[in-house]
Structure formats: structure tokens, C-alpha cells
Symmetry: C2
Subunit: 297 residues, 2 copies
């Protein structure tokens, strides 16, 4: 009888979640930990995994030094670059098996239970994943915030700033959206330049709720930004080319705001996901879903 | 008789130029130095000024320790924030007078000889300046590369990347521009993600020549980006609201590529500038042009 446990980890740039599950996939412990993006900070990512193991092993009353019989399954951001993935694997504690996949692939497997499907995630970034019948997967967008992540929170925030600055320069009528974004940027020239010099994807995405509020209040510029973002979401679905009837999932913080508009553009509804990144990690580590094989088509 | 010399400095983020001029504005020494952006590196900016003084004083055979009788006039990037300007002034060697203005204002004065005029600069960034009859000046755009600098080299580079990534995701036909930009980004997914994670305004603007070449070769996407950038340049002129007959100047590395299109949009020609940033510095320091008084209108 298999008595091994699996520590499943959802690793992200701002924090991580861990869940210890039994061979049937039943959760027996949960924990939250620090940032886990091996590309930006390998040591912190490894430390986060160790901390999640210590916490969940403690809750399950097993000796944390005894990693040998147990499995580790990680879905984490920033793992496309092979050298980073290898260095991360080498630095982790030794478990019976260690499965490392991108967080996007784990989300794809979790959503569809390991069967062919498509998933788009619209959050701070924007990315689409497709699992094909032969077990290979492909990604569309997810190209990061400067020239990619079309329609994402960072993209929405940048377009809100563009609009606010056009209004500031007298080239657009200043409505509700321009007013609230210019207030966030800072009214003085010096404050604005200081704010604009420190923009990150996260800070841009933090402006997205201002766009949602202005859109709700009827500001045409905000409505246009949402329409444009939704059209990008629909194009991302199109780039995945789902077969008729193939499951299609939507995740991410913008799901509520953009989901309905995207559905209108694509002429179908999104399906309800079966599970999340942690469920995907377990299915892959336990052989119930294919290992990650990324292809470029 | 005034025998004082003036060290005029054009300070930029990647390097600086200095010119020592006599009371009639005649150059008696020239030198090039290191980066001079007090916002990003105050110590380096001060060191660059000291080095320019050492070099030009040496060429003019005057004692560099004798700064007392002479004038210093600096037009530099990143000087809008008052605290930065004050700290920079305090850290400089003691001259008979020290005049510090933004590089944009010095360019405006240099171009128009101190008389009311408008100037737009289209380079890595995009900014417009206007000198009014009462001596006050205003700036339009120059809001930096994430949500501003519309039509600039960084803006053109970002739009080229957006187009190339859409082609990569199968959402645009891949023509000449997409091919050369995707080659620059890196063909593999890992190489592309690494390239895209290190983008700066300078790296984006370095892609602008690829757009110019593709536009010249007839690539429609490149032509569209140039048209859009030129429309932004024309809007920047409109934001300055030049009076009929008021001099209007264009500077920056994109002048040759976009100047003709912008002239078509605005229905007039750009005038030939009388001088540059260094000429502007001298005119301001010698009282032949107004001190910088920035206003927000």
C-alpha cells in the first residue's frame, strides 16, 4: 500500500501555498509561505519550499527530516529557462521524487483534470495554455508586461496611464478615469515623474480597479480599455484554437471583470475548472496526468 | 571688461559634453565626459562636471583651481524634482555663478535664441517645450517610457515587439518586421523571455532602426507604426499650441525618419534651429535669455 505523501506547491512571485496530500489526493495539511520565483530569487524560492515542508510535516506529525518516502510537486512561475529549472531542482531537499512544472501547466492540468483543454489566465499578466491529446502543451502570450501580456492587469494599468497623461497634456477630455488616475500618479510634475519612474507590472495592475470603477460609472475611456482588453482575451482564446466542445477555462483576478465580455467575443461560455494549481501538481506527480512537454507551434 | 569664461554643459544619461566659451560666446575648448543625470546618479553627475572643467580649463591653459571668476551653466536630464536640483547645486564646485536648467529648456533656448518658440524632441523619449512671451515655459509629454513618450524610439520599439509577439502567437501574419524583431528577441521561448525581462527605454529604442528598415522595404506593420508615431508627434505640436508664424523646431534621432510625416500632419514645416543645448546654456547664464520658470497650463 502506498503511504507516501505529496507536498504540492503553488509558487508565485509574491508568495507560495503548500498542501500535503495523501495517495488519494486528500489534503492533510495546508501552509502559506514566501515568494517562490526561482528566476528572480533562487535562494528565496528554495527557502519557501523548505518552510512549506516544515509547516505541513509538523501539522501532519511526521518527521520533517524524513523526506525520503515522500514526493514533492511544484508548479512555479519563471521556470521556462532550463538552466533555472535545473539549478532549482539541484538545490531542493531530496524527496522520493521531485516534479517541477510551470505554474501555468499545473493550472492547466488542475483545471481539466489532465484531459485535453485550454486555459487562459487574465491577472497581472495574461497567458494561454493548451494541453493536446498527445500530452504536449503549448503556451500563447505570457510574454511579460512591456510588449506582451495583452489585456492583462498590467496592460490595463498602462493604458489607463496613457489616457491620463494624454488628458494631462490637453489632448483628451479629462473625465472620471483621467481624474482618478492622475490623482494616483500625483498632481505635481515632480510627483508624477517620480511615480512614473517606479512602475512595475504589479503597480500597473494595481490601477486596474480604478478602471473597473470608472467603467462602472460610465467613463467612456475606461469602457474602451475594458473592451480592448477583452478583445485581446478573445484573441488569446483564438490563438489556442480550441476544438468544438473542448473544455475552455478562465482564471485570474480579471475573470469577473472581463469574463462576460470575452464570452461575447468568442461566442461561447467558459467551463468551470475542476481544480487549481495544487490539484494539477498532484495529478502530474502521481502519474495521472502527462509530464510537461512544451512545444512551439 | 568681462574676462570670465562660461563652462556650458549638455548633461545626459549616457554621457555629457562641455564647452568653455568666452564672454562673446566663442568656444575656446571642448570636452566629452561621463553620464550626467543627477536623479539616477548624483555622484557621477558631479564627477562628470568636474572632469569637463578639468579638461576644458587645461585646454584653455587656466588654473582649474581658480573657478572663482568663471561661470558654470548646465542643462541636464532629470532635474525637474526640486530636491534633486538643490542637492546637485550644493555638490558642485563653487563658480562665480552656477545656472542649472533642464536639458529640454536649454535646448528650447538654444534653438530659438531665447525668443518665444516651440520645440519637440523625438529620440529615445518624446517631449515638447514652449517658451512664452513672458519668459515662462511649459512642457508636454516627456512622461517617460511606460505610459508616455508617445511616438518616441522607445514607443516605436515597444510597438515593434507587440507586433512581433502577436505574429509569434499566430495572431498576425509574420512579415519582414516580425521576422527581424523576433530574430532580435531570440527564437527560443527561453531566449525570448530572457530578452523581454531586460527591456529598458534604450534597448527598446535600439529596435527603431529595424522598424525604419522594414518600413523602407514596404512592410505594412512598420509603416503603420511610423504613421502612428508621427501622428503622436503632430499631437505633441498641437499640445504646444504654436501661434501662427511662431518658430517650431524638431530635434532628436527620429527627426529624419518622422519629420516629413509630422510636417504633413501639422500642415507646416519645421524651422532650422539656431543652436543647441550648449548655446542655450550660455544665453541663459549670460542673461540673454530668461531663467527657467516652468508652469503647468
Amino acid at each position: 500500500m502506498d503511504t507516501s505523501l505529496t507536498l504540492c506547491v503553488d509558487g508565485g512571485g509574491s508568495g507560495s501555498r503548500g498542501r500535503l496530500v495523501d495517495p488519494n489526493g486528500i489534503a492533510i495539511a495546508e501552509a502559506a509561505g514566501g515568494p517562490c520565483n526561482p528566476t528572480t530569487d533562487l535562494a528565496a524560492a528554495v527557502a519557501a519550499i523548505s518552510e512549506l515542508w516544515l509547516q505541513t510535516a509538523g501539522q501532519a506529525a511526521i518527521d520533517p527530516a524524513e523526506t525520503g518516502p515522500h514526493r514533492l510537486a511544484i508548479g512555479a512561475a519563471g521556470l521556462v529557462i532550463p538552466e533555472v529549472r535545473d539549478a532549482f531542482a539541484d538545490a531542493l531537499p531530496a524527496f522520493a521524487s521531485t516534479t517541477i512544472v510551470t505554474d501555468g501547466y499545473a493550472a492547466l492540468i488542475g483545471a481539466g483534470g489532465g484531459r485535453p483543454c485550454c486555459l487562459i489566465a487574465m491577472g497581472t499578466g495574461a497567458v494561454g495554455h493548451k494541453l493536446m491529446a498527445d500530452g504536449r502543451s503549448l503556451q500563447r502570450d505570457g510574454w511579460s508586461w512591456i510588449g506582451g501580456d495583452r489585456g492583462s492587469g498590467a496592460w490595463i494599468g498602462r493604458h489607463a496611464i496613457e489616457h491620463a497623461l494624454l488628458a494631462r497634456d490637453g489632448l483628451r477630455e479629462a473625465g472620471e478615469l483621467a481624474a482618478v488616475v492622475n490623482q494616483a500618479i500625483g498632481e505635481s510634475e515632480a510627483a508624477a515623474l517620480a511615480f512614473l519612474s517606479k512602475l512595475t507590472p504589479g503597480r500597473l495592475a494595481a490601477l486596474a480597479p480604478l478602471v473597473a470603477a470608472a467603467s462602472h460609472a460610465g467613463d467612456q475611456a475606461a469602457i474602451d480599455i475594458h473592451e480592448h482588453a477583452s478583445a485581446h482575451g478573445a484573441a488569446l482564446v483564438r490563438a489556442l484554437n480550441p476544438a468544438p466542445g473542448e473544455p475552455l477555462y478562465l482564471t485570474g483576478g480579471l475573470s469577473d471583470v472581463l469574463g462576460g465580455r470575452i464570452e461575447t467575443y468568442i461566442g461561447r461560455r467558459f467551463d468551470k475548472a475542476q481544480g487549481d494549481v495544487l490539484n494539477g501538481c498532484f495529478l502530474i506527480a502521481s502519474g495521472q496526468a502527462p509530464a510537461e512537454v512544451r512545444v512551439i507551434l
